[in-house]
Amino acid sequence: MNIWLMIVLSAFATFLPRVVPYYAKFLRKLPRFARKCMLVMPVAALGALLFPGTIVDFSPQWYAGLLGVAVAAALAWWKGTIVLPIIGSVLATWFALTCF
């Protein structure tokens, strides 16, 4: 598997949906269900990205990833930023990996 090819493919898959609406006008009148699908898709993606990756990636110490994600979610709920949750989460995971 060539990583460069993957990067180019990913770039193409990103640029395609971005460029179409600037030249095609039909997109401004989409069926309501299609609109809703587009809006809700990133949220659905987040769920599938989080699990089971969080648990599988730290395989023998599965609780470490889970703890990190829980800390990130709590900090994000509390502060609403992205930097603090990431730092807190790395610290919590590091703690779980070294101490348990």
Partner: protein, 302 residues
């Protein structure tokens, strides 16, 4: 029409009375001429816009200023991306090329995740395409508000730089969006994203091994905080994300499906469920974008 005629009449130099040096139009002796806001007459659009509009033909510099918070915000997220790239064994050149050519937060994180999971090229293409489909909607909203100077090939770089944050900032801005403004706005965000990737990768090389191993959680921490922001504004998001998480876990751990395809299927399942349960309260998707961008509450989105 009526309004414009009135305004230009008042602003025309008034004839003076010879004896008093005072405009003869004013009836009272001490009345001063009415004060109106200064109206830019000869701007970008010639003399066609007669109403007072502070966002008149936004310039490159205004774009830069509006883009600085985005660039600063992208920097740490891009650092996280650089760290993740290093973590899964990409080179510095590959990581930076990723950010240079893609310029998409969630899409890049997904792509890297799928590369690490040894997904097939077709699964990667489809997954990244689907997660980026929302840009179609955002692009359509921006394209409808572009000024007359952004035509033909000039729309290509604008399209390339369309991200969630760029969309929310330009949606908040009243008036037309000019090509220089969009370039300034997107350029500074792009610079922050690419520079952050390189710095994150390099920082990763000096971290101790234990911290590096823990840094693998960065990507999940980012997903979790993005999800929490979403849940804060829209509680059904947790149901949608929960369903796709359960589906993906079942597909991978029990059905033993390859990661790329299970992701695509789980995302589709969650999406259809989400579109089905999403409240139907407001008609046109134009307002719905506030659910993606909680800070983009404006009527400016025409």
């Amino acid at each position: 029409m009526f309004r414009s005629a009135t305004v230009s009449l008042i602003h025309a130099p008034l004839p003076q009375c010879a004896d008093r040096g005072r405009p003869f139009l004013s009836q009272k002796r001490n009345a001063s001429p009415p004060r109106l806001p200064r109206i830019p007459h000869f701007g970008y659009y010639g003399n066609t816009m007669n109403h007072y509009n502070p966002s008149y033909a936004p310039t490159l510099g205004q774009g830069f200023r509006a883009g600085v918070p985005i660039g600063v915000g992208y920097f740490p997220t891009a650092m996280a991306f650089g760290l993740v790239c290093r973590d899964i064994g990409l080179s510095l050149a590959q990581a930076v090329t990723f950010s240079l050519t893609n310029f998409a937060g969630s899409g890049q994180f997904l792509a890297v995740n799928l590369i690490a999971a040894k997904a097939t090229a077709a699964a990667l293409f489809l997954g990244v395409l689907m997660i980026n489909l929302r840009y179609m909607f955002m692009g359509a909203a921006i394209a409808g508000r572009l000024a007359e100077d952004a035509i033909g090939g000039k729309r290509l770089p604008i399209a390339f730089g369309t991200t969630d944050e760029v969309f929310s900032v330009s949606a908040l801005r009243p008036g037309k969006l000019t090509f220089p403004y969009m370039m300034g706005l997107e350029g500074i965000a792009y610079a922050g994203w690419v520079a952050g990737t390189a710095v994150g990768f390099l920082v990763g090389t000096i971290l101790p091994y234990a911290v590096q191993r823990a840094a693998a959680v960065t990507i999940y921490a980012m997903f979790a905080s993005l999800l929490v922001q979403e849940v804060k504004t829209n509680r059904t998001a947790i149901l949608v994300a929960g369903l796709s998480a359960i589906l993906n876990s079942l597909f991978v751990c029990i059905a033993g499906m390859p990661v790329g395809w299970s992701f695509v299927l789980a995302m589709l399942g969650g999406t259809i469920f989400g579109a089905w349960v999403m409240p139907d309260s407001d008609e046109d998707g134009q307002e719905k974008c506030e659910e993606i961008q909680p800070d983009a509450k404006s009527e400016a989105l025409v």
